[in-house]
Each structure stands twice: as C-alpha cells, then as structure tokens.
Symmetry: C2
Subunit: 130 residues, 2 copies
C-alpha cells in the first residue's frame, strides 16, 4: 500500500502552483521555489506535480514548446488564448461549450470526458510589429 506522507517539499510545490495561478512548467516552478530560499530537487517537483495531477488537484497541459505546463485546479473551468510570438496568455470561459462537449462525447458513447481547448493567435502588441 502506498500511503502518502506530508513533506514541506510537496507543500511548497502546491503552494507555489496555487500562488502562480496560471500554467507553469515544472522547471519554472522549480526556479520559483528556489527563489523563495527553499532548496529542493527538480525531480521532487516533477513527482509532486504528478501526484497532484493524479489526485485531481492540478491540471496538466502539453504546450507548443514541448513542455508540460501545470496549473492549480480551479473550480471554474477556463481555457487559454496564447500568443504565438510573445507567449502571453489570456483566459476565457466557454460556458456553453462545456455542455456541448459533454453532449458530443455521449453521442459517441464516450464517458468520463475532459477537454483541452487552446486558442493560438497573434496578440495586439505583436500584431502591430509583425
């Protein structure tokens, strides 16, 4: 039996993820924790994040740059609009679509559905220059 133990490292990871709010890569999170003066291994951050995702306390998303980004699970499900040039992200909600995806999945006999919706574009700042 794999019984979980509370450690300050795991607490630090969850705390920083919470504090950050948006999507962060494991490595960025690691840097942020180190910056607070706490010293812990990158491996531990990965393990803590995996644990959080499995426990439903965090979401994972595969970004375009190949990194896996994590975020604290928020009660209100929202999506991201990401600038291809500067990487700046904005959040938006899709109340109707949440229902729609459920319907589509059901009609195909799928259940226990989750969805990943990301919009990529050029933001107003980068659009002027490029």
């Amino acid at each position: 039996m794999t019984l979980k133990r509370a450690t300050w490292q795991k607490t630090a990871v969850k705390e920083q993820l919470d504090l950050f709010g948006g999507f962060v890569s494991a490595q960025e999170l690691h840097q942020k924790i180190l910056a607070t003066g706490k010293k812990l291994g990158l491996t531990t951050v990965y393990r803590a994040l995996t644990e959080l995702v499995l426990g439903g306390e965090a979401d994972a998303l595969n970004a375009e740059d190949g990194e896996t980004k994590y975020r604290n699970c928020t009660p209100k499900h929202h999506h991201h609009l990401i600038c291809r040039k500067c990487g700046n992200t904005r959040e938006f909600e899709l109340p109707d679509f949440e229902v729609e995806t459920e319907r589509i999945a059901r009609s195909h006999g799928f259940k226990d559905v989750s969805h990943s919706i990301e919009l990529f574009g050029i933001c107003s700042k980068c659009g002027v220059a490029g």
Copy 2:
C-alpha cells in the same frame, strides 16, 4: 536565398500524410513510408513535416503522450475525441464553435487565430471493462 527543391522524399511524406487523413506522429509516418518500400531517414521526415507546417500545408498538435502529431491541412476543420485507454479516435465537427473562437480571439485583440480542441474520455468498449 533558400530556394526549395523537389525531392521524392518530401513528396512521399506529403503523400502519406495526405493518405493517412488524421493525426500521425513523425515516427509513425516514417514507419508507414518505410512500409511502402521507400527508404528514407527519420530526420528527413521531421524536416519535411516542419516545412509543410511552415508552408501552411499541415497542422501540428502536441498530444498527451508528448509526441507532436501532424495532419494534412483539410478544408473542413474537425476535431478529435480520443479514448484514454485504447487510444481510439473519432472525429467530430463544431461548426458553431469555429465562429465562436474567432469572436473570442478578436475580443481580446488577437488575430490570425488557430485552435486546438481535443476531447479525452473513455470509449464504450473500454467503459464496459473498466
């Protein structure tokens, strides 16, 4: 100036991508081409795919397993419903949503928008067993 040259390798990659229809990883595509008797390097497949994406002839998507999947750019934009257990995929369309995403992006000052929508769930076959 980087002027493009036509090679049978690039043709083979585009041809197989076309023929496949859905999302394929570079490695899968490489295997498929080898299976047709043509011999070419994996590197070449990656380079050909990158070229196709830049040229707007193919789309790229970062899958959950960390691989980058490519597909031929189809006039009719559709999305995927993927089974978490068996990996089986089904396609669906979201005519309304195509417009909706455009609207959302615009309202945030974004332009030149593309979107990635993937639904993950448990299909009927796997749902019975598991």
